[in-house]
Amino acid sequence: MDFELSAAQLRFRDEVRQFLAGLPPQTSAAVHDTGTLHSWDVHRAMAERGWLKAAWPVEQGGQGRDPFEMATLNEEFARAGIPIEGWLIAELVAKTLQIVGTQQQRHEVIPAILGGEILLCLGYSEPDSGSDVAAARTRATRDGDGWVIDGQKMFTTMAHEASYVFLLARTNPDVPKHRGLTMFLVPLDADGVQVRPVHTLGGERTNATFYDRVRVPDSARVGEVDGGWDVMMVALAFERQPAAAGHLLHLLGRALDWARTAGPDGPAPIERPEVRACLARAYTDLEVSRLMGYRMTWLTSRDVLPHTEGSLAKLFSSEALMRASASLVDVVGADALLTGHGTGAPADGWIEHEFRHSVVTTIYAGTSEIQRGIIAERHLGLPRATARRAGS
C-alpha cells in the first residue's frame, strides 16, 4: 500500500505546474467565457511540449508517460481551471483508432490529432437515444464502394472546432439493436453535414449535427460492418476516467480562497461554522473522489481495465460535485446571485458557475442511474432490473 507519487511523477507534475503558472492571467475565465472548453493556444503549446502524445510509446514518437503522470497532468489542468476537453475527446478517439482503426486511419488521423492540428467529436447520442445509445437511428446505407449517412446527432460537443465526428450509425435494422451498428469517421466538412449550436445551463456550447445524404468512402469505416458496438466498448473504456473529481478540486480551490478573504462587510467567511462544515464535507468528498480516480489509474497501470471501479468513481464524484456546489452556493448566500468572471461576483463567479455546470456531470458519460445499475448488477450481484409490463 502506498499513496505517494514517485519522484519522476512528481517532477512531471512540477513541469506541468510551471507551464500552467506561465499562462496569461485570466486564461481560465477567458476560455470558459467562449463556451467552448478548448483553447487552440493552450492546445498548441501542449503540442509543442509533446504532451498531446505524452502517453504514447517513445518508439511511436511519444513520451512514454505512465498512467499516473497522465492522471497528474489532467489533475493539474483541472486544479488550474484550464479546460482541455477538446484534447481529451480527440485523444480517446486516437487511442481507439490505435486499437481498431485501419492502417490508413492510424497513419493519417492519429498523427494529426497528436500533432495538435485537428480535433474530433463524438457522435453517439441522438434526439431519441441518450442512455439507450444502441438504439441509434442515424442510418448508413451502402452506396457502391461507400456509404450514405442520414440522421441527426445530439451533444456533438466540439463539432464546430473538430475535423471529424466519430459517428455511430445503424447499418442493419433487422438484427438486435446492438448487432446492427457500425462506427465511422465522418469529415465535418463533407457535403450534407450541418452543425447547429446548442447552449447549456453551464454556459458551455454543444451542438446538434445533421447528416443529409452525406457520402463517405468505405475507408471512413472504423471496425467491422455491424461491429460498431465492439468499437464503442473500446472507446467507452477510454472515457471512464471521471472529470468530476477535477472540477471538485478546482471548485474547492476557488471556494477556499473565497472563504479565507474578508468581505467588505465582515470577517472572512471561513469564520462561520456553516461555511466550515460545508468546506469540510466537500473536501472529504474530494479526497474520496481522488482516491477512487487514482485507484482506476493504478488498475490501468497494471493493465487491468477498470469496470465497476469506474462506475463507483463516476457516481460518487459527480454526485459529490453537485452536492458541494449546491451547498457552497447556499453558504455564499444572496451574493451568489451575482455571476460572471471579472464582474466582482464572490469567488470570481466560480462557485455559482459550478452550481450550474455540475448538473451535467451526473448526466453525461453514463447518468448516475446507469452507473447505479452497473454497480447493483456487477458489483453487488443484484438481479438485473426488469421492466414491469402492464398486467404482469
Partner: protein, 338 residues
C-alpha cells in the same frame, strides 16, 4: 509509487482473522454477549492470536497501523464483542511513552476527561485500567478505580464512566499533548476501519436479503428503487475503505496530513456505516425492524461507533485545517489558478 494492493502479510492476517471470527464471533455469540457487549471467551482467543501486544514495536520498529486497520475492519465486519481497537491504541500509546504494557486489559478514552471523569469510555466497564487525557496530562487509572456502569446502552461496547481520582500520571506537558494527539489519530483510523467493516457487512446483509426476498413475482433487488439505494451505499462503503487505507498509510509514514486524514476517515466511515446499515435494514422491510434479524445489530453498532467518534461535526476543524495546509503547500509551487 501508488499501490492499492494489500501486502501478503495483510492478506495472511485477514485470512487468519476471518477464520477466527467465523468460529468465535458468530451472530449468536454477539447476541449472547449483549447487553454488556463483552465476550471474554472471544477476548481470550484473540489474546492467543497475539492481541493486543502485536500493536507494540518489535525490534524498535512500531507495528504498522495499516495492518492493525485490517484487523479492526475484520472485527467490525463481524461485530466482535471485544475491545480490539481501544487496546491496540492503548498498547501503541504506552509503547510511545516508553511504559511497559502488561497482560491486563487497558482501554483508551478517545475524548478528554471532564472534571476528573472520563465519560462514556468504550470497554471501561470491563477494563483493568483506563488511559485518558486530562488537560495536558495523560493519566492511567486502575486497577481498582471507580467505574460507573450505565444501566443501558445502544450497542454494548461495555461503556463505562471512569473516575480518574488517584490515577497515575503517564506524561504531562507538550509531550503528553502531542502523544495524546497521535493516539487519538490512531483511534480515529482504527475506529474508521471498524466502521468500514460494519458498513460493508451491513450492506452485504441487505443485498443478500434483496436477492432472495420475492414480491410482485420477482426478487426485490430487481427493483431499481431499492437497488439504486444499495448502489449509492456501495459507493460510500468503497470510499470509506479507500480513505481508511490512506489514513493508515499516512499514520505509518508520519505524513503531515495524518491527523486531518484520520479525522476525515472517521467522519466519512461513520457516514458510510450509517447509510449502508440504514439502507440494508430498509431492504429487509418489516423484518429489519424486528430483533430476530441481524441487520439491527449492525444498525446499532454503526451509530454507536459514529457517536463515539463525534461524527462529521467533530471532524470539521481538522479537515478544514488539512484543506488549508494542502492548498498552501500546493501554491508553494507558484501555480495558482489561472
Amino acid at each position: 509509487m501508488m499501490d492499492f494492493a494489500l501486502s501478503s502479510e495483510q492478506l495472511d492476517l485477514r485470512a487468519g482473522l476471518t477464520a477466527l471470527f467465523a468460529d468465535h464471533s458468530t451472530p449468536a455469540r454477539v447476541r449472547a454477549a449483549e447487553p454488556l457487549g463483552f465476550d471474554p471467551a472471544l477476548w481470550a482467543v484473540l489474546g492467543g492470536f497475539g492481541f493486543p501486544h502485536l500493536a507494540g514495536s518489535r525490534d524498535g520498529a512500531p507495528a504498522r497501523l495499516a495492518d492493525l486497520a485490517v484487523a479492526a475492519q475484520d472485527a467490525g465486519a463481524c461485530l466482535a464483542s471485544a475491545p480490539l481497537v481501544e487496546t491496540l491504541v492503548a498498547t501503541r500509546l504506552l509503547d510511545r511513552l516508553g511504559a511497559a504494557a502488561g497482560d491486563d486489559l487497558v482501554t483508551f478514552s478517545p475524548r478528554p476527561a471532564v472534571a476528573g471523569v472520563a465519560r462514556t469510555v468504550p470497554w471501561a466497564a470491563v477494563a483493568d485500567r483506563v488511559i485518558a487525557c486530562d488537560g495536558d496530562r495523560i493519566l492511567i487509572a486502575g486497577p481498582g478505580h471507580d467505574v460507573e456502569r450505565p444501566k443501558q446502552t445502544l450497542a454494548g461496547l461495555a461503556i463505562g464512566h471512569a473516575d480518574l481520582t488517584g490515577a497515575t500520571v503517564l506524561a504531562e506537558g507538550p509531550a503528553a499533548v502531542s502523544a495524546f494527539a497521535e493516539a487519538r489519530a490512531d483511534w480515529q483510523v482504527l475506529t474508521a476501519a471498524a466502521l468500514a467493516g460494519v458498513a460493508a457487512a451491513g450492506l452485504h446483509l441487505g443485498v443478500e436479503y434483496a436477492k432472495t426476498r420475492h414480491q410482485f413475482g420477482q426478487p426485490i433487488g430487481a427493483f431499481q428503487a431499492l437497488a439504486h439505494q444499495l448502489a449509492d451505499a456501495a459507493a460510500l462503503v468503497d470510499g470509506a475503505q479507500l480513505l481508511v487505507q490512506e489514513a493508515a498509510w499516512a499514520g505509518d509514514t508520519g505524513s503531515p496530513r495524518r491527523h486531518g486524514l484520520a479525522a476525515m476517515a472517521a467522519a466519512f466511515a461513520g457516514r458510510a456505516a450509517r447509510q449502508a446499515t440504514d439502507r440494508g435494514l430498509h431492504a429487509h422491510g418489516g423484518y429489519g425492524y424486528t430483533l430476530e434479524y441481524d441487520i439491527q445489530l449492525y444498525f446499532r453498532r454503526a451509530k454507536a461507533l459514529s457517536l463515539l467518534s463525534g461524527g462529521e461535526s467533530a471532524a470539521v476543524d481538522a479537515v478544514v485545517a488539512l484543506a488549508l495546509a494542502d492548498t498552501d503547500s500546493d501554491s508553494d509551487h507558484d501555480t495558482g489558478r489561472r
